[in-house]
């Protein structure tokens, strides 16, 4: 308690007034689709204060001007990196990987020509645990895997976390749900206790920086068969969710699937997808005859 009290005493004054906070949130929402409510002011304020200090800006006003008008957009990217949450681990919500292997992929394969690849898109991919988990699940558990070319794309808005994903170094907590057998097959233990994912997996996944509300980033994703988009839409408001889901509709092949996080549902976002139950989970399918 004493430490907590001391921390509170040392808190600097807020970087932003309430009015500035509202302006900042509006700007950040327009750029990223991510919305912060009034209750998140402390979280946002601390991170903005840190960026003000690191950029040697004299005030929030100076900093905000730079973020808005900087030609390279570099500082906006730093800000995005600071504001996004990247907590994840291998085989998180593994019942969705069960659904992928047991139901979704066999169904996708039935409607595919053999010379067409099966395309999977993980967004946001954070530090890479999800796309690597998808790859391992397919290699280990899908009996038809050898009959198909499978492309896994993985995207995130946070450039720093994407670099980590490409690097493929993971701590013990991140791999805690990976069996010893899979660890020995796909990871190289390092002297510092971390685990390096094998090069074959690392090099097989196409990582890219994508802001889902920027059509210039998303329009190259087409003919996707399965999208994993877990725990992203909870950060968006209703309109942002609608736009994202409509973007997924354009990105998917007819009959393609969207897997959302366990606390997310399409029901208030879109009636253009069909809910499908696979085992323990509900996923959303673009109708085969969709248009």
């Amino acid at each position: 308690m004493a430490a907590l009290f001391a921390t509170r005493q040392k808190d600097p004054s807020p970087a932003m007034t309430d009015e500035e906070y509202a302006k900042f949130c509006e700007f950040f929402y327009r750029k990223t689709g991510i919305q912060f409510q009034a209750g998140k002011k402390y979280f946002v304020d601390r991170r903005v204060a840190d960026r003000i200090e690191k950029t040697c800006s004299e005030s929030f006003r100076d900093y905000f001007t730079m973020v808005r008008f900087q030609v390279t957009g570099e500082e906006l990217q730093f800000l995005v990196n600071a504001m996004t949450v990247n907590e994840t681990y291998f085989f998180r919500e593994d019942y969705q990987f069960d659904a992928l292997i047991g139901g979704i992929l066999p169904e996708v394969a039935r409607s595919k020509r053999r010379n067409e690849p099966i395309r999977i898109w993980s967004i946001p991919c954070s530090s890479g645990e999800e796309p690597y988990s998808i790859a391992i699940s397919i290699l280990e558990r899908w009996s038809q895997a050898d009959s198909w070319n499978i492309e896994i794309s993985a995207s995130d808005i946070d450039s720093k976390i994407l670099h980590e994903a490409r690097t493929g170094l993971f701590g013990e907590r991140s791999v805690s749900r990976v069996s010893a057998q899979l660890r020995s097959k796909y990871f190289l233990p390092r002297p510092d206790g971390s685990f390096q994912i094998c090069d074959e997996l690392r090099e097989s996944i196409d990582f890219s920086l994508v802001n889902v509300v920027n059509p210039l980033h998303t329009h190259r994703f087409r003919d996707i068969d399965v999208i994993f988009c877990r725990n992203l839409l909870i950060y968006f408001d209703d309109v942002g969710r609608r736009e994202t889901v409509e973007m997924f509709f354009d990105a998917l092949s007819p009959g393609g699937f969207v897997c959302l996080g366990h606390s997310e549902s399409m029901s208030r976002m879109s009636s253009i997808f069909l809910p499908r139950k696979f085992g323990e989970t509900i996923v959303y399918q673009k109708p085969l005859s969709a248009e």
């Binding site: 074959e200 354009d250 253009i272 248009e291």
Partner: protein
């Protein structure tokens, strides 16, 4: 190796010139739904296109194009757009009507000027749909408007819809009106059950 790296044949477009709004308006009638969807989405920053989007929505048959038309109209929301969407409450096309209700719920300030008229409509179905809008409308007056319905609407189904809405967004100040409504429908098991459930929820039981 079953895993093949994606992206080799894809090109990243760094900048795309804005499309001519006149072309986009023409594309709203294109044969391909994907072209109509793209046009509807790209017209979202063009307020002058709002009525054209409303016109297209009234005849559009593709659910996916409708969805994008509505999202763009939410961006372009205004009392005029809300009025056009409100006219769809009379549509016999149930998915379209429900989609219009959901879109109107996303534009509280734009729909607010029309709610009094909708709640006073001679068609009880339209009044029910207006109550449905209120149930999820982020507008400070919404609980009061629902309370007014409970006090004065003569139709049992409209009142029942308002009770459902108040169960979600009503405060303790609405209890007195719910009790009065319960007396009005005394002996009607459905209304007694619905009102009791709403009052329990408002009281936090």
């Amino acid at each position: 190796m079953v895993l093949v790296k994606a992206g080799g044949q894809r090109t990243l477009v760094l900048a795309e010139p804005s499309r001519d709004p006149a072309v986009l308006l023409a594309d709203l009638s294109a044969a391909e739904p994907s072209v109509r969807r793209a046009a509807a989405r790209d017209l979202a920053p063009h307020p002058e296109a709002a009525m054209a989007l409303c016109d297209r929505l009234e005849v559009e048959a593709s659910p996916s194009v409708r969805a994008v038309l509505l999202t763009s109209l939410i961006h372009l929301q205004s009392p005029t757009v809300a009025m056009r969407l409100a006219s769809l409450l009379r549509s016999d096309d149930v998915p379209l009507r429900n989609a219009a209700i959901e879109a109107l719920q996303e534009m509280p300030d734009a729909v607010a000027p029309h709610l009094r008229d909708l709640l006073a409509d001679e068609d009880s179905d339209v009044r029910i749909f207006a109550v449905n809008i209120l149930g999820a409308l982020r507008h400070g007056q919404a609980p009061q408007w629902l309370t007014d319905v409970v006090r004065s609407d003569p139709h049992i189904n409209v009142c029942a819809a308002a009770v459902d809405g108040l169960a979600e967004i009503g405060g303790p100040e609405t209890l007195i009106d719910l009790e009065a409504l319960r007396r009005r429908y005394e002996g009607n098991p459905f209304m007694e059950f619905a009102i009791d459930a709403a009052m329990r929820r408002i009281r936090g039981h």
